[in-house]
Each structure stands twice: as structure tokens, then as C-alpha cells.
């Protein structure tokens, strides 16, 4: 929900620059280069800074874009405007191929994997006959509108910067949407996002394609600016350079990519033209100084220049409250005759030789609060993970409304109306409470990435945010709605997780130690909320260590010890059960 005014001013300023009297033509060339680089860096911001996927291979996608138009417009004489969609298509579809191989890689495999295919593709460009080997392809026609040919750097300037600003707007729209929230959740690991129905591999592939298409666009423009292509600018060095442009600018921010491009392009130019005057006669001095400056810059501002600059601006008041009168349609309930919501039969989970859950059976009925208790290491959280599909059971079965869901992934479980919170809070700390909670409603929205970019998703989006706001008010955090989730106390973050789980419109709520870190009054309020939910028709299964809280709240208690169920019953009988007392207090009691 950012104001568009600064962008408009920026666009007008960029449009006015060529008309400034006495503007050296060379500066326009520099600005052209900045724009081309910024496009690629912007894609990397989304991919690396936001999505957490580091890629060294972006230069190869620039190459795909450039070579596609080069071949088609020279050898086949196609109009450059016809080759634009084809360039983007080639970059995009190769991104699908390479992405399928790479995005599933975790941690450091990913950047190194991209480095490897980036290099491989570079050598392929320089060896293939129809791409002109090392000489490349020349005599590419310029862009033209009617009889006006964009031959000079000044005339293609507008094409480049329109592309940059439009891409920035589309990218920012994408980030501020249902799909965008899923992408922004990627960097924090996949378990939380998947628990609310996000297909993380698909979201990763999506950002990968987005970044590749932006790179392809840059390549297409590059080919028609230079009117010749050769393999050199698409090699591994260039791929590395794009990445550090994004990091220098501020890898988490769309405009950081543009700023980084400006800094690096200008810096290189200045070093190249002025250093020889200071240190004459020596070879690659600018590379040396450039490398040193890069390291120094990172030591001074490891987060990049953009956030460092933004810190000087007065803090803006964050977004307005969504209109909570908008209703989100309810999830369609699975029709089941049985009143047994969840049935666990002889569930067993082994990790190597350790039996974390040993043939545990219990059920949860409709409108019931069941507590799962036991000493540390009893297997409570593992049981939760079995129910929600994060882990699959070694043996035994789990059924929801009489239907077996043994091998179902988390995304399928949440569709059945089972939502959860986590023992170790899994929120995205640099997103607001509202945005975090809205992830819970992911499955209840429908807008895809394209409609988000084009802002066709606003009605859908408003309903999602309204639902999120309603649930935040319900759990009593309306005041904190627009604060960053990471700035809340741990207890409050747990409550945010409950609001997020409620956004699913669940029939069964799984809460993993919801009262930990809460003060006495807050616990009472939580207990009241859970009773209200039960009376409204929801069931709750919770793991909790606070016995006072559990005994007053639960309708039924299941006790685990070393993975085995040792007791089950209403609170009054559990309190006096000798087995339970033994498990908690030792034999003597």
C-alpha cells in the first residue's frame, strides 16, 4: 500500500533528463547502462533478497534474451517488436527448465548450482555455430516506431527506462499481494508457509521465472542498443556482478536494485576514466580499487545502501486499517457423517532407533478441547507434525472425518480444515502482523501472480486483508496490526500465530504451547477465546505445559510419556492418575 507519488516524481525526473540543456550525451549512455543493469538486479532482488534464492546465473538469461532477438531479427528478419515476446518466452521457458532442476536445492547448493550452469551456458554461447561463436552476431536492426529508428543512445533511453519503471511497478505490485506474501515467506523456511497451503516449490519457481524474464527483457534491449551481441557480457563474471549490484543496493528492496545499478555503473566509469590520471601506466587498477571498495562498502553497510539511506527519512505511518465489513466466503466444509473429526490409530514414528511416537491412538470429537500433555520429549510435537503432514508416520493411520490422510502433504491437510501454530514461532519478522496473518487465508484467495502484478486482485485482496484484520481483532491485537511481527514480544507472536491459524476458517485448531510466554491475564483471555471458539463449533487440540491452564480449559486430556500414551480422560481423573503423577514427579509420589 505504498504511495505512488515518489515513483511518479522519479519517472518525470527521468523523462526530463535528456532535455536538460548541456547534458553530455555520454551521461545518457551511462543511464542506458544503468537501466539495463537495474532490470536484471531487480529480478535478483525478488529472487535473492526477498525469496532467499541466490543465483549467479542471471547473466545467462540476459544472454538468452539478447541472442533470441539477435538470431530472429538478423537471420529471419523478424521485427524487433515481434521478437520481444519471443525473447521473454525463451528466457522464461529456460528458467522453467533450469528452475525445476535448481530451485529445489537448499542452502549453498543453489548459488553454486546456478554458477555452474551459468558458466556452462556461457561456453555454449561461445561455441555454437548459429550464435556466431566468439564473434557473436552483428548488424542487429534498431528498434523503430514507424519510420523513427532508435539509433542513438538518447532515443532508446526512453524504451529502457519505461521498461525499468513499469517492471518496478509490476514487481512491487506482485510483492504486495497474496502471491507476494507467499514469496516473502520463502526465506524463512517452508514449513510454516506449507502449513497454510502455499506450494513452496511452485512459489520458488515463480520468482525464478520472474527474475529470468526481467533479465531476458534487459538482454533484448541490450541487443538493440548495441546492435551486436557476443558472449562476453553473459559470462560468469557478469552473473557475479549482477548479484553484487543487488547486494550493494540492498537486496531486499526493489529500488535497491536500481540504486545498486547506478552506484556500480557510475563507480566503474569514474574509476576507469579518472584512475589512470592518478596512477598512470598501470594495468587493471580500477578492478583492484573496485574490489577493495566493494569489501569496504559491505563492512560499512552490510544490508546495502538503500535501507541505509531510507533510515534517514522520517518514518512513515504504516498502512490503513482494512475495511472489515468485507466478508470472505467460508471454506466449503467437507461433508462427513461422523462426529469424530480426527482419529489417530496406532500412529508410530521412528527416527532411526528412536521411537518418538509409539503406537498412539486417540481421537478428537466435534466441539471439544483436547489437551495433549506429557513431560519434555514425550512426542507431543512429533504427533502434531504427523497430523499436519510435516512428517509421515512409520506405521498406523490418521483419519480426518473418517477419511485416511496418511501420506497427505501439509497443503492437503490444511484444505481439510486443520490449521496449526508452532512451538517455535514461525512468523516472517519483516512483514507486518496483518500480512503475516493474511498468509493464513492463502487458500481462501484466488488471485494469481499475473492479476496481482496488474492490480486486478484488489477485490480479492481486500477481502483477505479484511478477514485477517477481523481475526487479529478477535485475538486482541488490533493495536499491533501494522507493526512488524518481529518487533512483538514472544507471547504476542504466539497470539499472532493463532490469528493466522484462525484465518484458515478451521474446524480443528492445533495449538503447540500457545500459553508459553503469556502473562496471567493474557492466559485467561486466551482460555476465554478458546472456549468461545469451541462453543462456536470448532475443536481444539493443544499441547501445553501450564497445568492450571490445561486443567481448567480442556474437556479431555491425553497424556504421553516417552512416545507412549499412558492415560486419557477428563481433567479430574487425570489429576489423580498414579501413572501420570509418576511420569511427572517420579516414582516416590
Amino acid at each position: 500500500m505504498q504511495s505512488r507519488l515518489p515513483i511518479l516524481i522519479f519517472a518525470l525526473a527521468m523523462a526530463a533528463i535528456p532535455f536538460v540543456p548541456g547534458m553530455p550525451p555520454f551521461w545518457i549512455v551511462l543511464l542506458d547502462n544503468i537501466g539495463l543493469t537495474a532490470l536484471v538486479a531487480m529480478g535478483l532482488v525478488l529472487l535473492t533478497g526477498v525469496g532467499g534464492l541466490t543465483s549467479f546465473g542471471q547473466a545467462a538469461f540476459v544472454g538468452f534474451g539478447a541472442y533470441t532477438t539477435a538470431v530472429l531479427s538478423t537471420a529471419y528478419g523478424l521485427s524487433p517488436w515481434l521478437t520481444l515476446p519471443l525473447s521473454l518466452l525463451v528466457s522464461g521457458s529456460l528458467a522453467v527448465l533450469l528452475g525445476l532442476v535448481t530451485v529445489r536445492l537448499s542452502g549453498h547448493y543453489l548459488p553454486l548450482g546456478t554458477l555452474a550452469w551459468g558458466l556452462g551456458l556461457f561456453y555454449l554461447f561461445s561455441k555454437l555455430e548459429f550464435l556466431g561463436r566468439n564473434d557473436g552476431i552483428s548488424a542487429i536492426p534498431p528498434l523503430s516506431i514507424g519510420s523513427f529508428k532508435m539509433l542513438s543512445p538518447g532515443s532508446i533511453y526512453y524504451a529502457i527506462w519505461v521498461a525499468v519503471i513499469v517492471s518496478a511497478l509490476l514487481t512491487m505490485n506482485l510483492l504486495d499481494s497474496r502471491t507476494g506474501r507467499a514469496i516473502r515467506a520463502l526465506r524463512r523456511g517452508h514449513v510454516a508457509a506449507e502449513a497454510f497451503g502455499v506450494h513452496t516449490p511452485r512459489a520458488k519457481l515463480l520468482v525464478f521465472i520472474h527474475a529470468a524474464v526481467l533479465a531476458g527483457l534487459s538482454g533484448w534491449l541490450y541487443a538493440h542498443l548495441q546492435r551486436a551481441v557476443n558472449p562476453t557480457p553473459f559470462g560468469a563474471q557478469a552473473g557475479i556482478e549482477y548479484l553484487f549490484i543487488a547486494v550493494v543496493g540492498g537486496a531486499g528492496y526493489v529500488w535497491g536494485g536500481v540504486l545498486g545499478a547506478a552506484i556500480v555503473v557510475v563507480l566503474k566509469e569514474v574509476l576507469q576514466s579518472y584512475l589512470p590520471l592518478i596512477l598512470p601506466g598501470s594495468g587493471q587498477v580500477e578492478t583492484i580499487v573496485f574490489g577493495i571498495m566493494l569489501v569496504a562498502l559491505l563492512q560499512l553497510a552490510p544490508g546495502g545502501v538503500w535501507p541505509w539511506l531510507m533510515a534517514f527519512l522520517p518514518e512513515r505511518t504504516r498502512g490503513k486499517k482494512p475495511d472489515t465489513s468485507l466478508k470472505l466466503e467460508q471454506r466449503t466444509r467437507a461433508s462427513g457423517q461422523s462426529s469424530v473429526l480426527l482419529q489417530i490409530e496406532k500412529a508410530r514414528k521412528q527416527f532411526g532407533g528412536v521411537i518418538a511416537v509409539n503406537n498412539v491412538s486417540f481421537d478428537v470429537q466435534a466441539r471439544e478441547i483436547v489437551a495433549l500433555i506429557g513431560p519434555n520429549g514425550a512426542g507431543k510435537s512429533t504427533t502434531f507434525n504427523l497430523i499436519t503432514g510435516v512428517l509421515s508416520a512409520t506405521s498406523g493411520s490418521i483419519s480426518v472425518l473418517g477419511k485416511k490422510v496418511d501420506r497427505a502433504p501439509p497443503q492437503e491437510i490444511v484444505k481439510l480444515g486443520i490449521s496449526r501454530t508452532f512451538q517455535h514461532v514461525k512468523l516472517v519478522p519483516d512483514m507486518t502482523v496483518l500480512e503475516n496473518v493474511a498468509i493464513g487465508a492463502h487458500l481462501r484467495g484466488h488471485s494469481g501472480p499475473i492479476s496481482s502484478m496488474l492490480r486486478l486482485d484488489r477485490a480479492d485482496e481486500a477481502r483477505l486483508l479484511a478477514e485477517a484484520a477481523r481475526q487479529i481483532e478477535r485475538v486482541g491485537l488490533a493495536e499491533q496490526m501494522h507493526q512488524l511481527a518481529g518487533s512483538l514480544s514472544l507471547g504476542q507472536q504466539r497470539i499472532v500465530e493463532i490469528a493466522r491459524a484462525l484465518c484458515v476458517d478451521p474446524m480443528l485448531l492445533l495449538l503447540d504451547e500457545p500459553a508459553a510466554g503469556l502473562r496471567h491475564m493474557e492466559k485467561q483471555r486466551l482460555a476465554a477465546l478458546l472456549r468461545e471458539l469451541r462453543d462456536g463449533g470448532m475443536s481444539v487440540l493443544l499441547v501445553e505445559h501450564d497445568m492450571g491452564f490445561v486443567m481448567n480449559l480442556a474437556d479431555r486430556i491425553v497424556v504421553l510419556d516417552f512416545g507412549t500414551k499412558i492415560a486419557e480422560g477428563p481433567p479430574a481423573t487425570i489429576k489423580t492418575n498414579p501413572e501420570v503423577i509418576k511420569a511427572y514427579l517420579g516414582v516416590a509420589a
Binding site: S106, L119, G120, K127, L243, F244, Q284, T287, I292
Partner: protein, 346 residues
Amino acid sequence: MNTTIMLFLVQDGITNGAIYALLGLALVLVFAVTRVILIPQGEFVTYGALTYASLAAGQMPGTAKLALALGIGAFVFDLFVARKALHGRLIVRSFVANIVLPAIVLALTVYFASQKPPVAVCIALSLVIVAMIGLYLYRIAFQPLAHTSVLVLLIASVGVHLALQGLGLLFFGAEGQRGPAVLSGSFTAGALRFTGQSITVYGITIAFIVGLWLFFGFTLYGKALRATAVNRLGARLAGIRTTLSGQIAFLLASVIGALSGIMIVPITTLYYDSGFLIGLKGFVAAIIGGLVSYPLTAVAALVVGLVEAFSSFYASNYKEVIVFMLLIPVLLLRSLAAPAVEEEKD
């Protein structure tokens, strides 16, 4: 293809593979301990090789001066960090380690360079010079960033690579160089001719693999390094100085890099920028080894060397394409086999 050619290719592949194995080991080591993906590893290779070749040719290598310059930088960083609690012993220790040591080495280099020293002296000097460069680089470029993300460290590593490569051109010029064989002479066994050089390569690689295994398995420092690799904070709480671990890792990496360079330069002509590609092939091996396993990395490196040798015979144009694309199926297998584990980042 006849047997002779095949045996020749296998031999060539194993020799190159052994070098990649060494580099792959160093990369794994540095990454595990410091989380730095050491792109300048290739520069350690060229610096080692070209310093050795220059010395052997009776020229003064600029790297000795660089070591002193970096040492002065490291000294300044030490003083700056400790500015609130400066005391005599610290200053003296830092002064000796960062300034006196490289100054002595520089003096020795100047002395020997003028009189074509024997091979052993050249090797020793080259190793010491590059080792110091590695050590001081860690102090100046990476130690201040030790708390940041892998990505920031990676970009810093790129910066260091650019600076070192530029300096390499300055020191050694654009001309390629070759050095004298470490071990001259050769013998034949059947159709195969073994040169002293290739025997040296095998010997040193095996010695290093065994050495690293002993170091990590049986010494306190080795265990401290492994502890740092697993959990930095935990290691610090147990009293391990993580900076020291980082220094040891960089020291080992630079020595391994320089040694690899010295072993290659009698076989192939090296240029100031050759290191990058050689280092990257070490990377390929390291990735196949998953950046964690030393034996797997060594085996993978041999495979990379063999693939390279055979593809240079069959499709020399596509040699690099094949070597780097080799990774794709490996990564695919790894990703399919990868367990669904949660990673907590940042």
C-alpha cells in the same frame, strides 16, 4: 581409440583431478568453518604458481610486497578493534605477526630473487608468501564480516577475487609463465610414461588428504575447527576462538592453493587470470561432494578430471560446457534425494 590413448587420457585426468581434489578440499574446509565461499581460491593458485615461476626465473615477485602491505593493513585493523583496551603485549604480538614476519620474508625474497635460487627455496618462499596473504586477507576482509549472511560473505569474496586478480596482472603481467619441474626425470611402465611431476602431484594430494584426515580426526585444533563448522555460537561458548578457526582455515586454503599452483605450473602455462577457472572446477567437485564430505569431494574431483580429459579428446570445443553441465544431473539427484528438512535462515 586405442589403449595407449585411453591410458594417456586417464593419466591426464587423474593428474588434473588430483589438483581439483586439493582445491575442492580447501573450499569445503573454508566454507564449513567460515561460511565463506572462497572464490579467491583461484588467485591463491595463480599467486603460488607465478611467484614460484618468477623466483625460479630470477625475477622479484610483487606478491612479497603485497604480503607486507596486507600485513600492515591487518596490523591497523588489530589496533583499531582493540583501541579501547590497547596494551603492550597485544601490540607487540600483532606487530611481529603482521609486519616483522612479512618484512623478513620480503628481505629474503629480494635476496634470493637476484640469484636464481634452488627449487626448494623457491617453493618454500612461494608457500610462505601466499600463506601470509591468505591469513591477512581473512583478517582484513572477512573477519569483520564474520557475523553477516552467507550472501554478504560471498559478495565480499567476489570483491577480494577482483582485487587480487587485478593485482595479479600488475605483478605478473599479461604474459603466461611456466616454472621448472618440482621433480625432474621420468620412468615408463608399459605404455605409460610417468614424469616426476605427476608422481609429485599424486604424492602431495594423497599426503594432504591423509594429513587433513589426521588433523580433523585426531588433533584438538582440528576438532575445534569442526566444532566451529557445526555451530559457531556453541563453539564460542565452549571456549573456542572462532577467529582462530577462521585463520587456520584460510591459512590451510592458501597453502593448498599455492601448492596446487606450484604443481600445475610446470605442466601448463598459467596466466594471471587462469586461477578462476581452475578454482571453479574445484568447486564443481566440492559441490558434488556436497560441501561437507572430504572423501566424496576427492572422488568427485577425479571424475571431473577424467570427464575433462575425455571430453577434451572427443569434443574439445565443448570441454567446459560438459564439465560444468556435469553438475546438473548430480544436483538433480541430490535434490530428489534431499530430505525435507527445515532450515532456519538469518
